[in-house]
């Protein structure tokens, strides 16, 4: 009846007191409690989000000149932040779509929050190119809209335009994926709500969910198709982001390995951000039984894989720059390592290439403090990766007389820190109103992967083998068969 799972596998739902009602209680609890900590954090990051709005207003009012950009370096923190946020936004769809197709059950504990994180990260990402335009009120014309200038259309040859389509598609499909999964869980919250307003609110949010067999049948069909669509989508988005650079003729950007390298980097940073947030969430909301050390270890394995891919990509770039025999390419990479931005290169290499290698060791993979620390290092490293690629390649261009150095102004810093505040502010609101863990999906793996189910099966197997002798898990039970060759 249930999918087979090896008894050796660690349970994904811990605790022997679990049953369906207990799961509902535990997972809905964060939306039913009022906590002072939550209010303090939300107000704090809300203020930060307001500062973000203020800095953007400042930029629009006084112009892009308030940023640290100069004639040589026309792209700096804004595009760095954009690519950084988009990368972070990759883990959500990866967890929900690719892990769904690969039937990885551990996704059920983390997919909801990771998808929310994706959406908020893409919101933050989108702000940077839009405000870098300067005249934000013309932003709608990045889409091919009919106009009175011809109509003069957008250039379909431009990777920047492909990016517009990729990111807006990614954003809207992520929302569909996230929300279609949320509807049943809102139904669950509605049916246990006491207050009239609360009942009305969650019924609105659930679209009147009932959970009939037909609903669920179509729901499963929908999730599978969306997963099938989102999997190539998520790979395409960062591929197209990398085209922004790879199709140019700037040394250090004009690199054919950019697409896979960017995608691996995006997954790498996205998982790190999921870990940073989930380690806090599981502690604050007492969700340790649902987001177990096993979940964290699985994510760390993906981090060591993608981190190593990124490391190999860095080395390949260096090798190809030398092997190309092309002076400008060689100079770009020499300058990256030993030039005026050598410190950024050191940050990038040590955070992205060295830190994930610690995860080859199981005790470190399963250590929550180490994971938290390393996940923050990964995020710092991935920010510096984008900074190194973008700024060092531009700073020392073909004409030595125009070589320049980029220093951020308070507006640059304010927008960056403000976007982090906005992200955390939205995430906090999400934690308070929405179920942070997919309730229905966790229940669906309860009979396969929970500690309760595994214990029950072990007991059943125990009594069956007690008479004849045999193994239950690693434990031998009953009389030993001495003649057996095993």
């Amino acid at each position: 009846m249930h999918a087979y799972e090896s008894e050796f596998r660690e349970p994904l739902i811990k605790g022997l007191d679990k049953n369906y009602t207990k799961i509902t209680d535990d997972l809905v609890a964060p939306t039913e409690r009022n906590s002072a900590m939550w209010w303090i954090a939300t107000l704090f990051f809300g203020a930060g989000a307001l500062f973000f709005v203020f800095c953007l207003g400042w930029t629009v009012w006084f112009g892009i000149g308030t940023w640290g950009l100069n004639k040589t370096i026309g792209w700096a923190w804004d595009i760095t932040n954009f690519v950084w946020w988009i990368g972070i936004g990759h883990a959500g769809t990866l967890i929900s779509a690719i892990l769904l197709l690969f039937r990885q059950r551990y996704r059920t504990g983390i997919n909801r929050a990771a998808e929310a994180m994706t959406i908020f990260a893409v919101i933050c990402a989108g702000m940077f190119p839009v405000f870098h335009m300067g005249r934000v009120w013309d932003a709608p014309f990045i889409f091919p809209l009919p106009n009175t200038r011809g109509p003069l259309w957008v250039n379909f040859n431009s990777p920047l335009l492909w990016d517009v389509f990729a990111i807006s598609t990614y954003f809207s499909v992520s929302i569909l994926f996230w929300y279609s999964g949320l509807m049943p869980d809102f139904g669950t919250i509605r049916d246990r709500s006491k207050g009239k307003f609360r009942k009305w609110f969650y019924n609105m949010m659930s679209f009147g969910w009932m959970g009939t067999a037909k609903h669920w049948q179509r729901f499963e069909s929908l999730s599978l198709i969306l997963a099938g669509l989102a999997t190539p989508l998520v790979l395409s988005v960062h591929t197209i982001v990398s085209f922004d650079f790879a199709t140019s003729v700037i040394p250090g950007w004009h690199t054919t390995i950019f697409p896979p390298y960017f995608v691996a980097g995006a997954i790498f940073s996205g998982f790190a951000m999921v870990e940073t947030l989930m380690l806090i969430v599981r502690k604050l909301f007492n969700l340790e039984d649902y987001i177990t050390v096993n979940h964290i270890e699985s994510m760390n394995k993906i981090i060591v894989l993608t981190g190593s891919i990124v490391g190999i990509a860095y080395l390949t770039e260096l090798f190809i720059a030398w092997y190309s025999g092309y002076l400008y390419e060689q100079f770009a990479f020499y300058n990256r390592i030993l030039g005026k931005y050598y410190w950024a290169y050191i940050w990038m290499m040590s955070c992205n290439v060295i830190t994930p290698q610690f995860y080859w060791f199981k005790p470190i993979r399963r250590n929550l403090y180490a994971t938290f620390l390393l996940s923050i290092f990964v995020n710092i490293g991935m920010w510096f990766e984008r900074f190194v690629i973008i700024v060092t390649s531009l700073a020392d261009d073909y004409l030595p007389s125009s070589w320049a150095y980029f220093s951020p102004t308070w507006v640059d810093i304010g927008i960056y820190l403000g976007s982090i505040s906005l992200f955390l502010f939205l995430f906090l609101i999400f934690c308070r109103i929405f179920p942070v863990i997919a309730i229905a999906e966790v229940k669906a793996i309860f009979r396969t992967s929970s500690e309760v189910a595994k214990t029950e099966r072990a007991k059943a197997a125990n009594s069956a083998t007690a008479a004849t002798g045999g193994f239950v898990g690693l434990q031998h039970v009953g009389p030993l068969d001495k003649d057996s060759k095993n």
């Binding site: 492909w162 994926f177 609105m204 729901f219 395409s236």
Partner: protein, 180 residues
């Protein structure tokens, strides 16, 4: 579809006994009006004898529409509406069209099937659903039988059957005059 006023509701607490019960009840020729579960139970649609969902076919159609719209619009813009010479490049650069065609395929397919899903399931914000039992979104698996046209004896036999099949609770409910 008009919802029945009077119903018999059987509630189970384990998906295995629930699926067995559905098999036995259907074998007796009793019609199940509705089946409600807190999460997708594997094999439920087979046990109930439902047809496969045709959402994927719809998804393919929407996706194909997206590809067609993207390719034909870009071709029209670049060759007919406002042809521009970008440094001597061709007016019909097919490779440049691929990324956007792909994105619009995904966009159309995803929105198309999600809207189809909502329409087919009759889900919209503000819809007031009929709640047969509040625990069907928590920990109970329910079978609902339409008892509008059933005699007292037939109702009793359904209730007996449910109890034999290990239902933890069996009850009658009358929704006459209740909205939803």
């Amino acid at each position: 579809m008009e919802e029945p006023n009077k119903v018999v509701i059987g509630l189970w607490d384990h998906e295995d006994t629930y699926l067995h019960a559905i098999g036995h009840i259907r074998a007796k020729g009793i019609e199940i009006y509705e089946s409600l579960t807190p999460f997708p139970v594997h094999g439920l649609e087979n046990a109930l004898g439902y047809r496969d969902s045709r959402l994927h076919t719809a998804g393919f159609m929407f996706g194909a529409t997206g590809t067609t719209v993207a390719l034909s619009f870009m071709t029209w813009v670049m060759t007919t509406s406002y042809p521009i010479d970008f440094g001597g490049k061709p007016y019909f650069p097919l490779p440049s069209f691929i990324p956007i065609s792909f994105e619009l395929t995904v966009l159309f397919a995803a929105w198309g099937i999600t809207l189809t899903y909502l329409v087919r399931n009759r889900l919209w914000p503000g819809r007031v659903p009929r709640i047969y039992d509040v625990r069907t979104t928590d920990d109970r698996f329910a079978l609902v039988f339409d008892s509008d046209k059933l005699s007292a004896a037939e109702i009793n036999s359904i209730k007996e059957l449910c109890k034999q099949e290990h239902a933890v609770e069996v009850k009658e409910k009358d929704f006459t005059g209740i909205e939803g």
